[in-house]
């Protein structure tokens, strides 16, 4: 770790002098691209690249039924129909999977157990945004902008990480969202791609493709001063780059089985990009359906179905990447948790703190991090939700610093006194 950080620091200095390269003539950038392209074709290696895969569970997942505090009496008192039985109190598949004698996993997350046992899966509980909003939209916005309570922030924290670590050699695939549109968290000055399907990422004009693409490239290149010019340039660079990768030939390894859903497919394609060595550093995707106001279900039911897909996707990605997980961290997040008590519709309403997962070689796994505030009535946030003890910026900050090697947290989380002292120690 020290070596790596030292390396990044010194190379950061070296690169700073070329930092103006992003404004340099495009041939300079092309040279950089060609160099990155060498990696694909087995050319010179630039060392192992760290990758962060962020997964957003949109809709506010019920963290108390995901990482269950089964050692809490209140948990069972608050949730007469939604509580999941303690380990051993029901058949396998219907009871909590024990983690540490107090917390346990929802049974639908059984694929996580072996990763936990291998100490490559960690959990931070009672984490989230310090802002008290119960609006999905505000809370997602804050979690993506990384500035809770401040709406006017015009870029996302992942993009600000990219800005804080400028990389003139970056490939167009340095930051990729496997989503239809570029998510808030990746929006900003640093280039980032939104791709919904790698195979379709090409100009489709049959035999005339080359000529037509050339025409578009030239038109966009002429559009000096138009914001669309930059977007066009990124687009054509990425197309040309991806041609070399040939994504349609992909076969997952290690019997990895991704769910046959948009989410599973997004994770599969992230694995493709990582293995293809296209220079992916920050990947993002999202998965919805967590807003379980009604009939949430306990060990089985609605939430269980969503968790099955969620867990199998991550487990497949973990298996597929195999040894490469040494350089990868998978990080999950959701805008807020849900009420500690179930509501009148056998569901839960918008709450506050939540659980986050971190997986990977650098993760000090097999542990639930964070201070557990408990579920006593007087300990609940506004008398109804799990209270917050870890600001999500401390988790994001730790990942960006200790995993990706970011040196300046203040740029990533402006207005926040981020410091290593607040890190939970999830990463080595």
């Amino acid at each position: 770790m020290i070596n790596r950080r030292f390396f990044l620091k010194s190379s950061g200095i070296a690169l700073a002098s070329v930092g103006a390269a992003s404004f340099a003539p495009s041939f300079l950038q092309r040279a950089a691209l060609a160099q990155s392209a060498n990696n694909i074709t087995g050319g010179m290696a630039t060392g192992r690249r760290k990758t962060l895969i962020a997964i957003f569970q949109r809709g506010a997942v019920d963290g108390l039924n995901v990482v269950v505090p089964y050692g809490e009496k209140n948990y069972y008192a608050y949730r007469p129909t939604l509580a999941i039985p303690q380990p051993g109190k029901a058949g396998a598949g219907d009871a909590v999977i024990d983690l540490d004698g107090f917390f346990g996993l929802h049974p639908a997350l059984s694929p996580f157990k072996s990763i936990w046992d291998a100490k490559r899966l960690a959990i931070v509980h009672a984490a989230g945004s310090p802002d008290n909003t119960r609006s999905h939209f505000d809370a997602q916005d804050y979690m993506e902008s990384g500035t809770p309570g401040v709406k006017s922030t015009d870029d996302g924290w992942l993009n600000r990480y990219l800005q804080a670590q400028p990389d003139p050699k970056a490939s167009p695939f340095r930051a990729v969202a496997m989503t239809q549109n570029l998510p808030r968290v990746m929006q900003g000055r640093s280039p980032a791609l939104a791709i919904s399907n790698l195979n379709d990422f090409a100009v489709r004009a049959g035999q005339a493709t080359q000529v037509v693409q050339g025409g578009f490239e030239s038109i966009y290149d002429q559009a000096a001063g138009d914001a669309l010019r930059g977007t066009g340039k990124e687009t054509f660079e990425a197309i040309n780059f991806l041609k070399k990768v040939n994504p349609s030939q992909y076969k997952p390894e290690n019997d990895a089985r991704y769910p046959a859903t948009a989410y599973g497919n997004a994770l599969l394609q992230i694995a493709q990009l990582i293995k293809a060595g296209v220079g992916l550093e920050v990947a993002f995707t999202d998965v919805g359906g967590w807003d379980t106001h009604v009939n949430e279900g306990a060990a089985r039911g609605q939430l269980a179905a969503r968790l099955t897909e969620f867990g199998q996707g991550i487990a497949a990605l973990y298996a597929d990447l195999g040894q490469r997980m040494d350089d990868v961290v998978i990080l999950t997040m959701s805008e807020f948790g849900r009420t500690a008590r179930e509501n009148g519709n056998r569901g839960t309403d918008h709450g506050h703190a939540n659980a986050m997962f971190l997986l990977g070689g650098g993760v000090r796994g097999g542990k639930v991090y964070g201070d557990w505030p408990g579920l006593d009535s007087d300990k609940l946030n506004e008398g109804r939700d799990l209270a917050l003890t870890t600001d999500f910026r401390d988790v994001f900050g730790e990942v960006s610093t200790r995993h990706l090697g970011n040196a300046d947290l203040s740029k990533v989380f402006p207005g926040y006194a981020a410091s290593a002292a607040k890190f939970r120690g999830v990463l080595g």
């Binding site: 570029l182 399907n197 025409g215 009939n295 039911g301 009148g344």
Partner: protein, 726 residues
């Protein structure tokens, strides 16, 4: 994506400079030079005007979905002011021709009850039949043997957007709705896992499933039933066709705006059936009326009641015994109740649940109350508190839907006309006193509680400001000035929330008519697709393939999950992936590779491959005049000319590509007929079209060259930065 509308305000200042720069790129010679001077002083730039040609083009871009060939001249001749006035009164514009094109879309005239009955969800229908003992045994066996609905998606899931529908409905809100009418699920507190039958075992492809599906399809045919996907597909088709053809263009623009403002997500439960009425009975009739009427209509709409869960919101203090007694009475003889003409507001609680012996416990739900204030009226900083949310939620308890899934109708308890309609149930209402935004709402108000809330909200200055901001952003620029918003909000307040007057304040504002804002908005994918068809004078029957393109570009209609609706600013639409789809859409459109949609480029002149440079230049000028009212930069034009030269000097490309060219113009008319004929087929295809589009793309993989140089030039223009703007 959940960028808040107001979250971008902070970027406003930074973007002003780039907006000015963007305008420059458009390369309008007279305008560009004016802009250079103007950029020095924003106050003086406001004083300058667009040219009359630009104004005609501007109103066609903003009040309409772009110009069709000849539109710009017509507007110039009529006068821009008169055009605006005309468009502000859609009721005076004859639109029979456009409406005539919609006659084949049968869902448009059907009620919620009729739609639920004729387009039932197969699983739901079979469950009802089983309950009634009407399920044929062969169908039952097949049903019991099949595996899961997720299998369908297993075969080919590569496009996220197309699959979103499947995965959402399989996992998101659907189970709620199913469970709500599924007694066994409720009794156990469990719903069958919709994704996998067994949480531990991934699905395998099930041969029984195909057989089962076939049997269901056969059953549907025999009984004159249709798949529910067709409802959404036809509604989407109607929106596309009206946007392309309607003479009431501003009305269509406003329908688009309000539909997005009061967003409802079709895949959520019963909403796919309810959205037809939502468009027809809620949005359209009120698009130019009073905002409060529109607000009340949305509040009472089954679509919104279902989407934001209010139909399930029940006062926790409602008298349990009273509830039970009512249910018992209804269960004993529901038909008697109907026959006695039980008033809508006296119906026993939750008739949709009546055939269900064990009602689930219900409680208050804040979802609608919150979004009503945050997204429909006051805006997130509009000055309401969590306490207000709770109080408003109390006011709307008992606002519900009769038989939301059609189960009671199927069982014969509720007649079709009332199935899926709004009703207020006083027994489920919290009748205590409430305090909303400082207004006391007296106890015992019943349905008037909610009405009072809507009245308070519609007349609140924060609502005026919020609506003014969104309308100004829609019609003027991504970052409307506070001065403009202030004037528009004042017009709203002065007119008591009259939408027409509010719009007039925008259209007559110096900001709307400022050169700075000419082509300053990035078209949304829907606007891009429709304006491209219009620009080429093309035809479409709105069949799923064109909608799938709109989805690929990022804006599938009625499929934005969050109540915010799609953001209305450039940064949401301009990104690498979406831009590529826009380019590919342009290529597909000009090559007539979008079934159901057809363009005939022969009007734009002959094959240019052998022409002189002067000929080519003339062709490009003609094109630019028609497609973009001449708004292309000399540099873009030079690129286009170079394109033609490159093709000419590459005989192989030229030969293979220009072969079908003469073919195309000669058979243009025939193809259009074919396109019309394919409507039925395209509509009958699985509406998600998952396989359809994938297959189509695969099939065209090696044979999708734009058919001629003309087509290529058209594609380059439609895919150019200039055409992405309006």
């Amino acid at each position: 994506m959940n960028v808040r509308f107001d979250s971008t305000l902070g970027a406003a200042r930074a973007s002003v400079a780039s907006l000015v720069a963007l305008s420059l790129v458009l390369g309008l010679a007279p305008f560009a030079s004016a802009q250079v001077r103007g950029s020095a002083s924003s106050s003086s730039s406001k004083a300058r005007k667009m040219t009359e040609d630009q104004r005609a083009s501007h109103v066609l871009n903003r009040l309409a979905f772009g110009a069709r060939p000849g539109d710009a001249e017509r507007v110039r001749k009529l006068g821009v002011e008169k055009y605006i006035e005309q468009q502000l009164h859609p009721e005076l514009i004859d639109d029979a021709a456009a409406e005539a094109r919609l006659t084949s879309l049968e869902v448009l005239k059907m009620s919620n009850g009729e739609l639920l009955a004729k387009y039932p969800q197969p699983n739901f229908l079979l469950k009802q039949m089983q309950r009634e003992g009407k399920l044929p045994s062969d169908l039952k066996d097949l049903r019991d043997n099949r595996k899961t609905p997720a299998d369908a998606a297993a075969a080919n899931t590569t496009n996220k957007q197309l699959d979103a529908n499947a995965s959402m409905s399989a996992s998101g809100a659907q189970p709620n709705a199913q469970a709500a009418t599924n007694p066994s699920a409720n009794a156990q507190g469990q719903t069958p896992n919709p994704l996998y039958p067994n949480a531990q075992t991934p699905v395998a492809v099930d041969p029984n499933r195909a057989e089962y599906r076939q049997a269901v399809a056969e059953f549907y045919r025999e009984h004159g039933l249709q798949q529910p996907q067709k409802v959404t597909a036809e509604l989407q088709a109607s929106r596309i066709m009206r946007a392309v053809y309607s003479e009431r263009q501003l009305q269509e623009v406003m329908v688009d705006f309000w539909t997005n403002h009061f967003n409802v997500y079709a895949p959520k439960g019963a909403d796919r059936w309810f959205l037809v009425s939502y468009d027809r009975d809620v949005i359209r009739p009120h698009a130019f009326g009073n905002f409060k009427d529109l607000l009340v209509a949305t509040a009472e709409s089954p679509a919104m009641l279902f989407y934001l869960d209010n139909f399930q919101s029940v006062s926790p203090t409602a008298n349990q015994n009273q509830r039970r007694a009512a249910a018992a009475r209804f269960n004993q003889n529901p038909m008697l109740n109907n026959a006695l003409g039980v008033r809508r507001d006296r119906m026993p609680q939750q008739p949709g649940q009546m055939p269900v012996p064990q009602r689930q416990k219900r409680g208050i739900n804040e979802n609608y109350a919150r979004e009503l204030m945050e997204l429909h009226t006051l805006g997130v900083d509009g000055g309401y508190t969590q306490k207000d949310v709770q109080e408003v939620a109390r006011c709307f308890t008992g606002w519900t839907i009769i038989d939301p899934r059609g189960a009671a109708n199927y069982a014969g308890f509720v007649d079709e006309a009332r199935t899926g309609t709004f009703y207020f149930n006083p027994r489920l209402h919290d009748d205590g006193e409430k305090l909303v935004l400082g207004h006391k709402i007296p106890a015992g108000g019943g349905i008037n509680d909610g009405m009072m809330v809507l009245d308070i909200l519609a007349h609140h200055p924060s609502t005026a400001k919020f609506i003014a901001t969104k309308l100004s952003r829609k019609f003027v620029s991504d970052n409307p000035t506070p001065e403009l918003v202030g004037r528009v909000a004042a017009a709203y307040m002065k007119s008591n929330g009259d939408i027409r007057e509010t719009l007039r304040a925008i259209f007559t504002s110096p900001e709307f008519n400022s050169p700075e804002n000419y082509r300053a908005k990035i078209k949304t994918p829907f606007e891009l697709a429709v304006s491209a068809v219009r620009a080429l004078g093309g035809d479409t029957n709105g069949a799923p393939p064109i909608h799938q393109w709109i989805g690929r570009m990022g804006e599938p209609l009625y499929q934005y999950q969050a109540p915010t609706g799609y953001p209305d600013t450039a940064e949401h639409w301009v990104n690498t992936g979406a831009l590529l789809e826009r380019i590919n859409f342009a290529l597909a459109l000009v090559s007539n590779r979008i079934p159901g949609t057809h363009v005939d480029l022969s009007r734009f002149g002959a094959d240019t491959s052998k022409g002189t440079t002067a000929d080519k230049s003339r062709v490009i000028d003609e094109f630019a005049a028609v497609i973009m009212q001449g708004d292309i930069s000399p540099k873009t034009k030079a690129s286009l000319l170079k394109q033609l030269d490159e093709v000419a000097t590459n005989p192989q490309e030229s030969a293979s590509a220009s072969m079908p060219a003469s073919n195309m113009s000669a058979t243009g008319a025939a193809k259009m007929n074919a396109a019309t004929d394919t409507q039925a087929n395209a509509m009958d295809a699985p509406a998600g079209g998952r396989r359809g589009l994938r297959g189509q793309l695969a099939a065209n993989n090696n044979n999708n060259a734009p058919a001629s140089e003309i087509a290529r030039i058209a594609a380059l223009l439609l895919g150019s930065p200039e055409f992405q703007r309006q």
